[in-house]
Amino acid sequence: MKKSMSLFHVLSILLALSLLLSACAQTPTTEQPQVEEPTAAAIPDVIPDVIKIGVNETMTGWGAAYGDMTWKGIQLAHDTKPTVLGKPVELVLVDNKSEKSEAALAAQRLVEVDKVVGVVGVNSSSMSMAQNEVLEKAKIPSMATAATNPLVTQGKLYAFRAAFIDPFQGQAAAKFAVEELGAKTAVLLVDIALDYPVGLANYFRSNFIAYTGDEKSILSYQSFQTGDRDFTAQLTQIKSLNPDIVFAPNEYAELAAILQQAKQLGITATFLAGDSADVPELVQIAGENAEGFMYTAQFHPDAFTHPEAAAFVEAFRAKYNIDPETFSVTGFDGYMLLLDAIERAGSVDPEKIREALLQTKFTGARGVTVFDENHNGILAVPVIEIKDGKKVFRYLVSPGD
C-alpha cells in the first residue's frame, strides 16, 4: 500500500506539472492581435484568418548553430512580408533536436496540430528527408533551406528547396579550382560518416576530372569520421602528395581542426570546402589558420548587387548587426518563395500552391530564382576566401556556365 501511495504522489505531481504548463495561455509569435483559431483551414478555397507557416528547424542538438541562423533569416523575411492574401502570417517554430525521428514528429505536428499551409526548413538534408516523407503524404508544400543533397526533393511532388544542389555545387567548386586557381591535382579529405561531405566530394571528383581532362588528377581520397580531432595521419600523407587543392567539404568543427593542423604541418595547398563552412564559428575557432581558406557558399553580400539583395543585406545588418550568410539567406528566400507562391496561387490549397511554385520566377536575395524539374533552386554559387579573418567574395559561378 505504501509503495503504491508514493506512485500516486508522483502521478499527481506529474498531473500538476502538466496543468501548470498548459495553464499559461499561448500567444501567436507575431505582433498581430489575437485571432480566433481558423476553422476553415480544412476547406481549401476558404482563406483562413491567419495563414500559418511552419518552420521545422534544428534549434537544439548538433545543428543548433545552423538552425539559429536559418531562423534569423526566416524571422527577417516575416518582418519584411508579414501578410499574404491580405491576411497576417503566423510562424510556428518547432524544434527537431537535430534528430531524424524528431524531425518527422515535428513535421507531423505542424500538419495535424497547427494545420500549417506550408513548411520552411530543414537546413539539413537528412532531416529534410525525414520531414518530406511526412509532408508528401499530407500533401503540404515544403521549402527546404540549406539542404543540398539531391535526394531531398527527388521523386517528391510537394518538396522544393531554396538552394542549389550538391551536383552543381561540386561542379562550381571544381570549375573554380581549375579555371580560376589553375589547379591540376587535388586530394579529397572527407568525413565519411555524413551524407553531405560524401555526396559533395563525389560530385567534385567527377567534375574535377572532367575539367582537368586528367583521370589521375584526384591523387587520393582520405577519410575520417565525425568527431575525430587528430588529422595528422591524413595530412602527412597529403603533404607528401603535394596537391594543388585539398577539397574538404566537412562540418566546421572538424574543418577548423584540419586547417589548424595543416598549417602546423606546413601544407601549402589551397583548402576548399562547401557551404557548410559558411558559419562565423569557423574563423573564430581556426583563427589565423583559416587565412587563404576558400569555400563555395549560398550567399555573399558582395556577390549579388541587385536592389533586392542590397535591401536584404541592409535589413539583416540593421536587425542582427552581422552579415547574412548561407543559412540565413536560404531561410529568408525560402519564406519569400513560399509566400510568393501562395500570393500567386491566390489560395491556400496545396495543389494550387504547388502549381504556383512550379511557375516560380521570383527575385530574392540571390537574383531571379526558378526551380528545375526536380524542384531545386537554379542559383549562382559564390566562392568566398578568408582574408585577414574576413570573408571576401572571390568568384561567382553562374548556372549554365
Binding site: K3, S6, L7, F8, H9, V10, L11, I13, L14, L17, S18, L21, S22, C24, A25, Q26, T27, P28, T29, M59, T60, G67, L93, V94, D95, K97, E99, K100, S101, A104, L105, Q108, R109, V111, E112, V113, S126, M129, A130, E133, V134, K137, A138, N149, P150, L151, Q154, G155, I192, A193, L194, D195, P197, V198, G199, N202, Q225, T226
Partner: protein, 354 residues
C-alpha cells in the same frame, strides 16, 4: 490434458484482443500525429523490454541496442524499397545485384530483420558475454559502433552515409501493437519460465548460479540473442515509420534514450518499461508547449527552443527523488492486483501488459 485457462490468462488475451482492435480502429479514427506518437511509443516499448531482459533480468549491461536496431532497419528498408527507387537513390555506387531487385512483403522482411539482428547479436554475444561488468559494456558499445561504421563503408548495399529514403509505409499501428504484444508476452513468458529463474539467478550471483548447475554462458547468450531479435524487429518498424534511414540515426544516443526509459520505469519491471516509454514519447511532445511563445503574468515570453529538454530533465529528477528504483521498481502489473483495487473505491488504474 486440457486445462481451463486461468482468469488472468483470459483477461490478458482479452486485453491483447482489445488493444489490437483499438489499433485497428485507431488507424482510421486518429490523426497521423497521434498515430506517429503511438507508433514511437510501441517501438520504444519493444526496445526497453529487450533491454530489461538483458540488464534488468540477466544483469548483463549491454550497449549494443542502436547497432542491432540498425540491422533490422536496414534489412527492412532494403527489402521493401521498390527496385526503381533503389536505382534512383544510390548515387555513390550502383546497388549490389543481391539487393537491387529484391522487393519483399513486410512480414518476411521484418522477420528476416529480426533474425539477422539475432544472428549478429549472437556474433557479438558469443565472445563478449564471457566478460563481466564494465568490460562487457565497452565491448558491446564497440560492436554497436562497428555495425554503424560497417553500414557507412558498404555503399553498394547501404548507400553509405547518404542513407535510404522513400521506404514504403506498409506497416501501421496494427503492426506496432502486434509486435509490442508479442515482444512483451514472449519476454514475460521467458522470465516466468525456469529459464527466467535461472537468468535471475545469474544476475544475483554468478558463482552460486554455476554451483546449482546453471550454464552461465548458455543462459546469458540465450537472453542476449532473444532480445536482439526483438531489437531488430523494433528497428525495422522504426524504418517503416520514418520512411528514411541513415547510419547516423543509430548513434549511441538511441541506446541512451532506451536506458533512460528503462531506468525511469524500473529495470526489473516490464510494466515499468511500458509506462516509461509512454511518458518519454508522449511527454516530450506535450512539453513542446513549453517552448512556444506565451504570456506569463502579462509578460510576453518569447519561445525558447531547448526548454523542453530542460523541463524533461527536471521531471526525471523529481521522479527519481520520489521513486529511486524507477516507477515500478521490480513490481509487475497483475490482474489480481487490479481486481483487488476495484474492491476499494477511489483508486486509479494504469494500463499495461500482463
Amino acid at each position: 490434458m486440457f486445462r481451463l485457462p486461468t482468469r488472468s490468462t483470459m483477461l490478458s488475451w482479452g486485453l491483447a484482443a482489445v488493444l489490437l482492435l483499438l489499433a485497428y480502429i485507431g488507424e482510421s479514427a486518429l490523426d497521423d500525429y497521434v498515430i506517429r506518437i503511438l507508433n514511437m511509443w510501441g517501438i520504444y516499448v519493444i526496445l526497453v523490454t529487450s533491454f530489461d531482459l538483458v540488464y534488468g533480468i540477466t544483469g548483463q549491461f549491454s550497449l549494443a541496442h542502436a547497432g542491432l536496431a540498425a540491422i533490422g532497419a536496414y534489412t527492412v528498408s532494403l527489402l521493401t524499397l521498390p527496385p526503381d527507387a533503389k536505382l534512383m537513390s544510390f548515387l555513390l555506387q550502383a546497388p549490389h545485384p543481391l539487393i537491387s531487385n529484391a522487393q519483399w512483403p513486410l512480414l518476411p522482411a521484418l522477420l528476416l530483420g529480426g533474425v539477422l539482428a539475432a544472428l549478429v547479436g549472437f556474433m557479438i554475444g558469443a565472445p563478449a558475454l564471457r566478460l563481466h561488468g564494465d568490460y562487457l559494456l565497452i565491448v558491446t558499445f564497440g560492436f554497436s559502433e562497428i555495425i554503424r561504421l560497417f553500414l557507412i563503408n558498404i555503399p553498394s548495399i547501404t548507400n553509405g552515409a547518404m542513407g535510404l529514403k522513400g521506404v514504403p509505409y506498409l506497416s501501421g499501428l496494427r503492426w506496432t501493437v502486434a509486435a509490442v504484444i508479442l515482444a512483451v508476452f514472449l519476454t514475460n513468458r521467458l522470465i516466468t519460465s525456469s529459464y527466467g529463474r535461472a537468468l535471475k539467478c545469474v544476475r544475483e550471483d554468478e558463482i552460486a548460479a554455476e554451483a546449482v548447475g546453471v550454464n552461465l554462458y548458455r543462459h546469458k547468450t540465450l537472453a542476449f540473442v532473444f532480445s536482439s531479435f526483438f531489437v531488430g524487429i523494433a528497428g525495422g518498424l522504426f524504418a517503416e515509420i520514418l520512411g528514411t534511414v541513415d547510419p547516423n540515426t543509430f548513434r549511441p544516443a538511441l541506446t541512451y534514450a532506451v536506458i533512460t526509459m528503462a531506468i525511469l520505469g524500473g529495470l526489473k519491471s516490464l510494466t515499468g518499461g511500458v509506462i516509461a516509454a509512454g511518458i518519454y514519447t508522449v511527454m516530450s511532445e506535450l512539453l513542446r508547449t513549453v517552448e512556444a511563445p506565451r504570456m506569463i503574468f502579462s509578460y510576453n515570453f518569447p519561445g525558447l527552443p531547448g526548454l523542453r529538454q530542460l523541463a524533461f530533465a527536471v521531471m526525471l529528477l523529481v521522479l527519481i527523488l520520489f521513486a529511486q528504483r524507477g516507477l515500478m521498481g521490480s513490481n509487475e502489473f497483475s490482474w489480481d492486483w487490479l481486481l483487488s483495487r476495484f474492491k476499494r473505491p477511489g483508486t486509479k488504474k494504469e494500463g499495461g501488459e500482463a
